[in-house]
Amino acid sequence: MSVLVYTENWDGKFKKLSYEMVSFAAAIAKEMGSSLTALSIGHVADEELKSLGKYGANKVLNVQDDRFESLDNKALADAVAKAAEAEGAKVIIFAHNNEGKAIAPRLSVRMNAGMVSGVNGLPVSVEPFVVRKKLFTGKAFANIQIKTDVKVITFAQNSYEIVEQGGDVVIEAFDPQLSDDEFNTTVKETNKITGKVILTDAEIVVSGGRGLKGPENWGILEELAGLLDAGTACSRPVADEGWRPKEEHVGQTGKIIAPNVYFAIGISGAIQHLGGVNSSKIIVAVNKDPEAPIFEAADYGIIGDLFKVVPQLIDAVKEMKANG
């Protein structure tokens, strides 16, 4: 019996999310008294695979097969199912991101497993298997029992602390033996945004709304973001007006993010906006309207003119950095 965690790589490297997931999966394995296997698909060097051991993986299954580069959903689900069967996995864990959301539901059908997505903490209990998640884009929570023998969950990023625990890890090559006709996706073109902090990865996000008045005023937000190594985001009308690129729009109809700190600058805090950011650890609001709903969601706030406040924030960050 084992717990299986799907560890995606980014150009051969793992990132914080991978270690967070392995730590989370290791805690579940421990509670169930089982071992933890990580599944890696793609070209990842042994040293990098070994790093998963530090967070509690006992074994890593290493699939090296270029055909998976097209991220064919069906083939990926088949490969994970083969690994899960080989390992006798009872719980299979994905990230609640593009790749996880693509594979997990297919896999759950393959494995006759119940699935819960967006789980945001350790199971309430493992016997029966009950997990917690947010509903109504953050307006409520539910405790959900998965009744099947095998369980599939997707894990909400930034909802578990990374735990280093050391330990030996075995790396095994694994070949799921899929035939060519299982791969039906052809990638014609890939466009990567380079040189920018990826919004869904960013630990700090600086976000602007209509209060900035126009695209020409974004310089101060970019400067603040640059100093903090932060990603930049915006409210929907800002993206709709074309003041900022569409990828920056956060909210119920945009990206859903959960950084450590979210700076909402000149954003009123409409319910649809909050739906995309209310999982942030800390929300900071700068708004000249004391009645703006953003202050109900925020942890720290300044009522005032952003054009006066943001330059002060920039100076203060510079000073903080200068003092180490």
């Binding site: 790749e99 119940g114 903080m320």
Partner: protein
């Protein structure tokens, strides 16, 4: 090309969420029901494709009780040609996907949303594709159709990809698939009354998850305020108190 758009019936996104009976069930009293926003955008894109040519028909399907019919009528008013309602309470994602699998055969393109705005399950689309044993693409932010060939734009971490994939295919759509949802026009509303809305009985299917209880988030501590001319203090608090900088 025949398109099927899956429609989930959800409370309006501004609904105040309440639960009843010891927090065991969602309180639907006074709730306004709408087409799940992602499904509305999927339908909008399907309409755009049809107007460009090459789409024979657009069907919408929902698993729900009679209360979902106004939502399906709205989808017909927006422009779908016909609607199917599988008559059952949508108990969980697997149950819903099993019902849809009975009515989703014979379409070239099936469109599902990335999540329903009520239970945020992100499950039904992928499960249905697996039950039908067809290809699927998730995180889809664009679909084009030229000479019967689909071109699909998909989001990947930090970028996008353009794909070709053979049909039948199920796409799980998200942000970008269409910009503004279509609003039904008067003429559409009149025509919708005459369009077919077929009700089919549910098939036997298990549920694999149980919602045991619901909770509202704990009330948030009050926002800590800093004076406008003392923004430096905010950075200090974030650094020393919240320890996030």
């Amino acid at each position: 090309m025949k398109i099927l758009v899956l429609i989930s019936n959800v409370p309006d996104t501004t609904t105040k969420i309440r639960f009843t009976g010891d927090n065991k069930a969602f309180d639907a009293t006074g709730v306004q029901w709408i087409i799940n926003p992602w499904d509305e955008l999927a339908l909008t894109r399907a309409m755009e494709l049809k107007e460009k040519g090459g789409v024979e028909s657009i069907t919408v399907a929902n698993v729900g009780t009679k209360i979902t019919e106004p939502t399906l009528r709205k989808a017909l008013a927006v422009g779908a040609d016909d609607a199917i309602r599988v008559d059952a309470e949508p108990l969980d994602a697997y149950f819903v996907a099993k019902q849809l699998a009975e009515v989703a055969k014979g379409y070239d393109l099936i469109m599902a949303g990335i999540e329903a705005s009520d239970y945020n399950g992100s499950g039904v689309g992928g499960m249905l594709a697996e039950l039908l044993e067809i290809n699927s693409v998730s995180a889809v932010s664009g679909i084009d159709l030229t000479d019967g060939q689909l071109k699909i734009l998909r989001e990947i971490d930090g970028g996008t990809q353009t794909l070709e994939i053979s049909t039948p295919v199920l796409t799980v759509v998200q942000k970008g698939i269409a910009i503004d949802p279509r609003i039904p026009a008067m003429r559409g509303i009149m025509m919708a009354r005459k369009k077919p809305l077929k009700v089919v009985p549910a098939v036997e299917a298990e549920t694999r998850t149980d919602f045991l209880s619901f909770e509202l988030p704990a009330p948030k501590a009050a926002c800590k305020m800093v004076e406008e001319d003392n923004a430096k203090e905010l950075i200090r608090l974030l650094h020393e108190e919240a320890k996030v900088l």
